[in-house]
Amino acid sequence: MSLPAGPEFDALRAEYRQALAAKLDALGAQWAQVAGGDGAALEPLVRALHTLAGSAGTFGFAQIGTAARAAEDFLHTRTPPFGPEDKSEVERLLQHLRARVLSGL
C-alpha cells in the first residue's frame, strides 16, 4: 500500500510519520497501566493497536502495521491479569513495534 504521488500526500504522510512517536508513547503508557494491574486499560490499548494496524499500511508503513497487528492479535487471546510470560511476550511485541516505528521515522 502506498499513497498517491503529489505534494498533498507527501505532507499527509509526513504528518502521519510525525504522529507515530506520540502514538507509540501512548501505547507504552497504556501497557504500563495494564501491566500494573489495571485491566480496564486493556481495551483502549487493543483499540489503539487495532487503529495503528489499520492506518500505518495505508500511509505506506506496512511493517509498522504488521507489528501492531501482531501485538493486537496476541492481546486478543489473553485476559488480565497477565502472568510473567504473557507480560514478557507483550513487551517483546511492543519492543518490535517500537523498532519498526523508529526505523520508519
Binding site: 502506498s2 504522529a19 495505508t58
Partner: protein, 245 residues
C-alpha cells in the same frame, strides 16, 4: 445437492471480492465470502445459519453458472488461497472457528441500483466516520479532490450530530472499531431511521476476518473494505455505491 462437494472462488470470483463493484445479491455475496476451497457444502450450511438449504443450493448454482465459483479441484491453487493468509490445509472443524481468522482481505462495493447524474452545482456529501485523525484527514482530502464534501466524525456525539445536521449524507464511510461506540451499532441505527436507511454505507475497517465481513454485510453495509487500503480503492468504491461513473 452434494453436501460433500467443495467449491472454490475462481479468478472471476476473486475480482468480485476485490474489484469494488459487485452486482451480486446479499445472499450470494455472503456465500462467496464463506467459500474458501476447503469447506464442504455441509460446512457452508453450518457457517451460514441465516440461509436455508434451498438458498444455499440456489446460491451455489447461481455462482457456479456465473463462473464465480467452481469445484475446488478445477480451480488453481492461487484462487483457492485468495485472501486467507493463515488458512490451515486441514480444517476439519471448518465452521465459525475458521471464520474468526484474521488476514482476510476484501474490497466489496455493491453497485447502486441506478446510475446517479449530478447537476452542475450538485456535490456529493460524505460522512467519514474515522477515529484516526490522520486517516480521516487523508480521506477528506481525497474526497475533496473528487469534488465531494466530506464531514469527519470520530466519536459517538460527533457522529450523532453529523447524522442529524443537514444535508443528509449521500454516503457514509464507517470505521467499525471506534472509541466510544461500535460502528456496527451505528450502522444498525442508520438502517432503522427512515431518512437514512437507504444511504449507502461502506465499512472501512481493520477487522479482517470472514466472520467480520459477513457480519457487516448481513447488517446492511453496501461495501466492506479492509484496512490497510489504497485510497483510490475507497474512492472507486464510493462512486460505485453512489452510482457515479
Amino acid at each position: 445437492m452434494d453436501k460433500k462437494a467443495v467449491y472454490a472462488v475462481t479468478n472471476k470470483g476473486d475480482a468480485e471480492l476485490s474489484g469494488v463493484g459487485t452486482s451480486l445479491s446479499a445472499d450470494a455475496l455472503n456465500l462467496l465470502v464463506l467459500i474458501d476451497g476447503k469447506r464442504s457444502v455441509a460446512q457452508l450450511l453450518k457457517a451460514a445459519p441465516a440461509l436455508s438449504e434451498k438458498q444455499v443450493e440456489e446460491g451455489l448454482q447461481k455462482l457456479a453458472r456465473a463462473g464465480i465459483i467452481a469445484p475446488a479441484s478445477e480451480v488453481t491453487s492461487d484462487a483457492i488461497d485468495f485472501g486467507f493468509g493463515k488458512g490451515s490445509p486441514d480444517e476439519s472443524r471448518a465452521g465459525l472457528e475458521s471464520l474468526k481468522k484474521t488476514g482476510y482481505y476484501v474490497r466489496i462495493a455493491r453497485r447502486a441500483a441506478k446510475p446517479r447524474k449530478l447537476g452542475p452545482d450538485e456535490r456529493i456529501n460524505v460522512l467519514v466516520v474515522e477515529d484516526d485523525p490522520q486517516l480521516a484527514k487523508l480521506l477528506k482530502v481525497c474526497l475533496q479532490m473528487e469534488n465531494m464534501v466530506a464531514t469527519v466524525a470520530g466519536k459517538k456525539d460527533e457522529i450523532l450530530a453529523a447524522l442529524r445536521a443537514p444535508p443528509k449524507p449521500d454516503l457514509i464511510l464507517l470505521d467499525v472499531v471506534l472509541p466510544d461506540v461500535d460502528g456496527l451499532a451505528v450502522l444498525a441505527k442508520i438502517r432503522e431511521f427512515e431518512a437514512l436507511k437507504t444511504v449507502p454505507v461502506i465499512l472501512c475497517t481493520a477487522k479482517a476476518s470472514r466472520e467480520a465481513v459477513l457480519d457487516g454485510l448481513r447488517r446492511g453495509a453496501d461495501g466492506y473494505i479492509t484496512k490497510p487500503y489504497n485510497v483510490d480503492v475507497v474512492l472507486k468504491a464510493a462512486k460505485t455505491v453512489i452510482g457515479l461513473p
